[in-house]
């Protein structure tokens, strides 16, 4: 019988976990969250969120995956037979995330090519929307396939498929041991280049100057918890799956701390790189940084940053290749982990071979992701991203913390974690899982719900939000129920899960 696979080394596991956590959000979300939520002062709620929610949840997921040695559906099924659907819901959310996330990686791949001769010209906005995406008038006007998106999309799916075909040790671990050092090196080179430019200081002042009045604003705290939560790949099956491949004698707590610190270190590095270069661009335009910085996200990477690259005195193409290369590697390492998360769920339950589960996962994933290579791809991506994150990942995090915090004996999970780790965690961990995380994630969900009910997200028509947002979020949840109804294969890789009493 084919084995589930196991990490070849501790370094391999940590690299893969950091690779999963470090993604596009570290580069284009963290700097803007910081700058718009109090600058340097934002780091205070950010660190509080890291220690009271991010690291505790990572320890919880690492501990559960390691203890039960199965993917998310198996873990939840063992905690309580009736909870298996939550594990599948997490897998379904992972599926819907990867199908659009991979489209952005495809754009980054294409922009590496464009960087060589700065194909985006002087009007980067018109180039991105009209020349590259050839965007249509709305989400329902698909406008046919865009080959410039479809071809890199096929390549990125191909790379993901090939890496995952190699297995846990021979594929994911090996790839991350190359991608992660490369990603840090590329980002360090961009940072050094940025810091040596005039005006870089203005960018860093914009990023780090503290505005203490913001700390008293509850929404800033919710934003800090959201940033930590979304950045660490928590609550959509990834970290549970990755830790299920750990050998029996493995550390949990220290690995969780290292993963979280590694993710935050990259965020800080990327923030410095991005804002030093934007600072230079503002300086060269004679404009304040706030005026040219934009709002982060897709706009930062594909509109603002190309403009900043244009303005560099030398090495424009090189900085372009490095920047989009770092987006590519950050994205790829996260993308592999997301596919692995739902593929492992299928494999564990239905006793598929790794290759068969991978063929199905990548095949269906590719077909669905083709919609993001149409002229309406960006609109649909924006809507799906908003709803899947807010009413999928955040809601699942909330449910996970409440169910496990209040209905499972946390002490026994803490006992398991402490028995094998480099250092022990105290009762503060129980308090974080039981009270702090549900309170903050609950507040975040309520605030988002109020916002979405008050003003239609992004100004999209209601029927578009219902079709691509609400429907996708509901389909993900229903998929969880449906998949949990199937019987576990008799001769499964694991024994059919038995509920474990805590």
């Amino acid at each position: 019988m084919e084995s589930r696979g196991q990490w070849g080394s501790r370094v391999g596991f940590i690299m893969a976990a950091i690779g999963s956590a470090v993604g596009l959000g570290n580069i284009w979300r963290f700097p803007y969250m910081t700058a718009s939520n109090g600058g340097g002062a934002f780091l205070i709620p950010y660190f509080v969120a890291l220690f009271t929610a991010g690291i505790p949840l990572l320890i919880l997921e690492f501990g559960l995956g390691h203890k039960f040695r199965t993917a998310a559906p198996g873990v939840f099924s063992r905690l309580n037979k009736k909870w298996e659907w939550i594990g599948w819901w997490q897998c379904a959310i992972a599926f819907f995330i990867v199908v659009y996330y991979i489209a952005i990686i495809a754009w980054a791949l294409m922009y590496i090519v464009y960087s060589f001769n700065l194909s985006w010209g002087t009007n980067t906005e018109a180039f991105f929307y009209s020349n590259y995406l050839n965007i249509t008038d709305g989400p329902f006007d698909l406008g046919g396939l865009r080959l410039k998106v479809l071809i890199p999309l096929i390549i990125v799916w191909g790379v993901t498929f090939l890496v995952l075909s190699g297995g846990v040790k021979g594929g994911i671990e090996k790839a991350n041991k190359v991608f992660m050092p490369l990603l840090f090196i590329l980002t360090i080179i961009i940072t050094i280049r940025g810091l040596t430019l005039p005006g870089a200081v203005d960018g860093l002042n914009f990023l780090f100057t503290p505005d203490f009045s913001k700390i008293l604003d509850g929404r800033v705290w919710v934003a800090a918890y959201g940033q930590i939560f979304f950045s660490l790949s928590i609550a959509f099956a990834i970290m549970i799956t990755y830790s299920s491949y750990l050998p029996k004698k493995s550390d949990i707590t220290n690995n969780a701390f290292i993963t979280a610190f590694g993710d935050c270190a990259f965020s800080l590095l990327a923030g410095t790189a991005v804002f030093s270069i934007i600072g230079y661009w503002a300086y060269s335009q004679g404009a304040p940084v706030a005026e040219v910085a934009g709002n982060g996200g897709v706009g930062l990477a594909f509109i603002v940053f190309p403009m900043a690259i244009n303005s560099l005195p030398t090495m424009n193409s090189l900085v372009g290749v490095l920047f989009f290369g770092s987006l590519l590697f950050a994205g790829l390492s996260s993308c592999m982990s997301i596919v692995e998360a739902f593929m492992a769920g299928i494999r564990d339950k239905f006793q598929f071979t790794r290759q068969k589960a991978l063929n199905w996962s990548c095949g269906v994933g590719f077909i669905v992701s083709v919609i993001f290579a149409t002229g309406a791809g960006l609109y649909i991506l924006d809507i799906v991203d908003r709803f899947v994150n807010n009413y999928g990942v955040a809601l699942l995090g909330l449910i996970e913390a409440i169910l496990i915090g209040w209905f499972i004996n946390l002490e026994s999970i803490r006992g398991h974690v402490n028995s094998i780790s480099d250092f022990s965690i105290g009762k503060w961990w129980n308090i974080c899982i039981k009270f702090i995380t549900p309170l903050l994630l609950g507040s975040m969900t309520v605030l988002n719900l109020i916002e979405d009910l008050t003003v239609p997200y992004g100004g999209y028509p209601t029927n578009a939000l219902l079709t691509f947002g609400v429907a996708v979020a509901v389909i993900a949840m229903l998929s969880g129920f449906i998949l949990s109804r199937f019987k576990w294969a008799e001769d499964t890789l694991l024994q059919p899960p038995k509920e474990v009493k805590f």
Partner: protein, 31 residues
């Protein structure tokens, strides 16, 4: 760069890199 921005930048780097260094140190020691 203004002083308060420097203080917070250094604070961020210290917490993250310090934390990372301590954890890596423990991991190496327990190897």
């Amino acid at each position: 760069m203004n002083t308060s921005a420097i203080i917070f930048m250094v604070m961020g780097i210290t917490v993250i890199c310090g934390g990372l260094a301590i954890c890596l140190g423990i991991a190496i020691k327990n190897k």
